[in-house]
Amino acid sequence: MPVNGDVLLLEQPRTQQTQQTQRTRNTYAQPKVARLRLKRALRAVLLPVGAFLPVFLLGTFVTYLMGVLSGLSPAHLQLGEAATPQAVARIQHEWGLDRPFLVQYLTWFGALLQGDLGRSWYNGHSVSALLAARAAISLSVAGLALLIGVSCGFILGVTAALLQTSWVDRAITAFTSLISVMPSFVVGIALVALFAVTLGLLPAAGYVPIDEGLWGWLSHLLLPAVALSFDTTSEMARQLRVGLIAAYRENYVTGALLRGLSDRRIFFVHVLRNAIGPALTLLGMKFPHLLGGAVVTEAVFGLAGYGKFASESALRGDVPAVQGVLVVSVVMVVVFNMLVNLLLNRIIPSAAGAAHRGA
């Protein structure tokens, strides 16, 4: 947020100003400018990456520790009726579970860095292969849900902010509050009952890969994506509305109006860029949540996605599968937050300026 409250000039993106000043002042020092730019670019990229590493290391360590502490073993999953103590010991040895903790952890971590997430205790398949097979379904649903959530949330938030305190604003606020509290299974079942069973417009469950037809793929994904998007829509709408209302109250908006700038220019060039911060940050958290947290929606719509995989593996006590999912989640959350930070620095000039000034 801009700090010079008494300056009535427009808040231009600082990069332009700084560059212009530097060009007029230091015409003799072009290499210095280039070096400065490189330093800033590196800092913008390396700082988030530097934050990523410790989080990743700690996250994977705790994940592995929890698996070992759980005391679960593949024996109970694989042996069934043949679970004699000798057979149990044999299975433990086969899976390397009788080695010391650190040896196990380092072996697992080394394999992890090469993309090998171990083998499922339930069916012996490679966990990476299992997750990759489900990626298409989960990414499709989550991607579509994000798209719907962002667009609807954007439209609702902007409308509510522009028409603030009118009946439209109140209606939108009530609507977003309502949809944010509805549990996903109620939403899913209601959508199925209305659109699939009663109206017969869309199928009730299942997944069709995109190479079997675009409409088949889309029609199976629409209902679960809508059900999943409710949370994102309401959060996006709310954050954007609050951000926009606050941004409109800033002095530079009054200044812009006085200078005769059009409403559209004020909105798109100035207000929106400053108001979008909280909403974008929120999105960074939402996508991984959509990917892995959609357990109930996946159950209702019979989709074999990450959420179902994680919950079924946890219920079965299939430790490597759960560890694999956790590692993927850690990576996704951190990467997305990194991307959101980079994006924010780019879009919000004051944020970039603050970083540049070392604030």
């Binding site: 005391g71 679960l72 073993s73 024996a75 109970h76 999953l77 694989q78 042996l79 069934g80 009726e81 043949a82 679970a83 004699t84 103590p85 149990v88 044999r90 339930y122 069916n123 012996g124 398949h125 299992l130 097979a133 489900r134 379904i137 079942i189 199925v192 009952a193 699939a196 069973v197 017969g200 199928p203 009730a204 469950a205 299942g206 996946e298 159950a299 209702v300 719509f301 019979g302 989709l303 074999a304 179902k308 995989f309 079924e312 219920l315 079965r316 006590g317």
Partner: protein, 500 residues
């Protein structure tokens, strides 16, 4: 373009179109069955072993023998069999010119390799079922001889879908790969398999009964929620699925047909008399009189099941009517037995360990509480280990039975029976009765009587309390006609699907 050439062009176009349309009408669209069912964890029958998973495997594998609607044995991969005079050797004669889906011939050598693998592979779930087979010999290209450890007339029934789904010996050289991708000689072959997601199978033209298979493709879908089954079938997403008793009314209201497929299912309360408090016979007898089976049928199966105190439903060949009322439900009597033995209400506490949460277990807990026994329920995914190691005092179990009645009795009541929580408890009377039943030829007039006598002896010697039996409930969409009513199994032989 001039008018005559325009007309000529139109005529040519029409001719081409009608030819194309005509040819497409001549080729019928493929018959595809969409089945929502839980997948087995293992696709190798030697490793799979448990409950309903064999129904899915039966799509890809053919078994040595089959059974008909009455549970009588019929030819499968084997077209006939012959015992020797003393009954401790049996020869199976296979159908000629059969192949597995990878091209390997189905011959005596393949059957020998399969049975040996089932007996010796370290993670085999079938070795306990094959204890009667001592060795296997190839007599001829299509004749395989089984040398038995004892006189056992049950072998043709035994080598059915539960135990003898024959795998390709070529594929079995890599058991881990076979476990992830089935290769058999069944009615269909797998063309796509994504674990816990979906499987696509195509008709296998080399199946011995391929002439009677009218379905071209089967698509299996895992992970359908029980509550969404009816909506999915109504909207045509699936054609066939399991259904829980609570959904039956909804299915009927939606105009879908519910199939009550007969089976050998039986649920039980497993008691270990080697552990307290059941090492006191009075406590055991009190518990036997405290279980109200009708309440379980009403509340758990919603009336679609039936009471039974034996490891199979009433009407099964080995069901003994004389033993029907061995320990009738009598709460007062149970309380009196306990007080006479010196127990006050609340004195007895026992750990009731379960694999998953179960309404049946909670009802039993309340029935035990009514006579003063406190059963503490704990659910653990690690249940299988202590259960099959006979470390638990009290638990519940449910089986889908076996094609061979003697096998069912041995598994539940035998001294090494995996489902006998009180092993090695067994009475001499039971051992003798089982031996007699096993040695009676299937066609003998004494067969049924001997089976029932074995059941009688088993029930008297075993503490396991059998509670209820529920037929296999399925719901089918309008495209699926009546299925063959083969108990416990789902057969697609002779089934023609309707229009999509």
């Amino acid at each position: 373009m001039s008018i005559p050439s325009f007309r000529l062009a139109c005529a040519l176009l029409l001719a081409v179109c009608s030819a194309a349309c005509g040819s497409s009408k001549a080729a019928a669209p493929p018959q595809v069955l969409k089945w929502a069912i839980a997948f087995p964890a293992n696709w190798d029958p030697v490793v799979q072993g448990s409950g309903g998973g064999f129904r899915v495997l039966a799509l890809a594998y053919a078994s040595l023998t089959e059974i008909d609607e009455h549970g009588d044995v019929r030819p499968g991969l084997a077209e006939r069999w012959e015992y020797n005079a003393s009954g401790d050797e049996i020869t199976f004669y296979l159908r000629p010119k059969l192949k597995f889906s990878d091209g390997t011939p189905v011959n005596a050598e393949a059957v020998k390799l399969y049975l040996e693998r089932a007996k010796t592979q370290t993670n085999s779930a079938l070795d306990g079922d094959l204890s009667s087979i001592e060795s296997i010999r190839v007599a001829d290209e299509l004749a395989v001889v089984l040398h038995l450890t004892q006189v056992d007339r049950q072998i043709p029934l035994l080598l059915g879908q539960r135990v003898a789904q024959i795998t390709s010996p070529t594929a079995a050289r890599d058991p881990k790969a076979l476990n992830a991708w089935p290769v058999g000689a069944g009615p269909f072959k797998v063309v796509e398999l994504v674990p816990e997601s979906h499987v696509r199978l195509q008709k296998n033209p080399d199946y011995w009964d391929a002439d009677n298979i009218h379905i071209d493709e089967v698509k299996l879908y895992a992970g359908t929620d029980a509550a969404m089954v009816v909506a999915s079938l109504q909207t045509g997403v699936y054609d066939f699925a399991n259904i829980s008793p609570s959904q039956v009314k909804a299915a009927e209201q939606a105009g879908l047909e519910v199939v009550y497929q007969p089976g050998f299912n039986a649920a039980n309360l497993a008691i270990n008399v080697n552990k307290p408090p059941f090492d006191d016979p009075a406590v055991l007898e009190a518990v036997r009189h405290a279980i109200d089976r009708q309440e379980l049928v009403d509340k758990v199966t919603l009336g679609y099941g039936s009471v039974t105190n034996q490891p199979f439903p009433k009407g099964y060949i080995a069901y003994d009517e004389a033993s029907e009322n061995l320990w009738p439900y009598d709460r007062e009597r149970a309380r009196q037995i306990l007080s006479k033995a010196g127990y006050k209400p609340g004195d007895i506490a026992v750990d009731f360990v379960l694999p998953t949460s179960s309404p049946a277990a909670e009802i039993i807990q309340s029935q035990l509480a009514a006579i003063g026994i406190e059963a503490k329920i704990s659910v653990t995914p690690k249940w299988a280990e202590p259960f099959f190691a006979k470390k638990l005092a009290l638990s519940i179990y449910g089986t889908t039975g076996r094609e061979s009645p003697v096998q069912t009795l041995t598994a539940h009541f035998g001294p090494a029976g995996p489902l006998n929580l009180s092993a090695p408890l067994v009475s001499d009377e039971l051992v003798a009765a089982l031996k007699l039943a096993r040695e009676t030829p299937l066609a003998s007039p004494d067969y049924v009587e001997n089976l029932k006598a074995a059941t009688r002896a088993a029930l008297k010697s075993s503490p396991t309390v059998f509670t209820y039996s529920l037929p296999n409930l399925f719901v089918k969409g309008p495209r699926v006609p009546k299925l063959p009513a083969i108990p416990g199994q789902i057969h697609w032989t002779g089934v023609r699907l309707g229009k999509p």
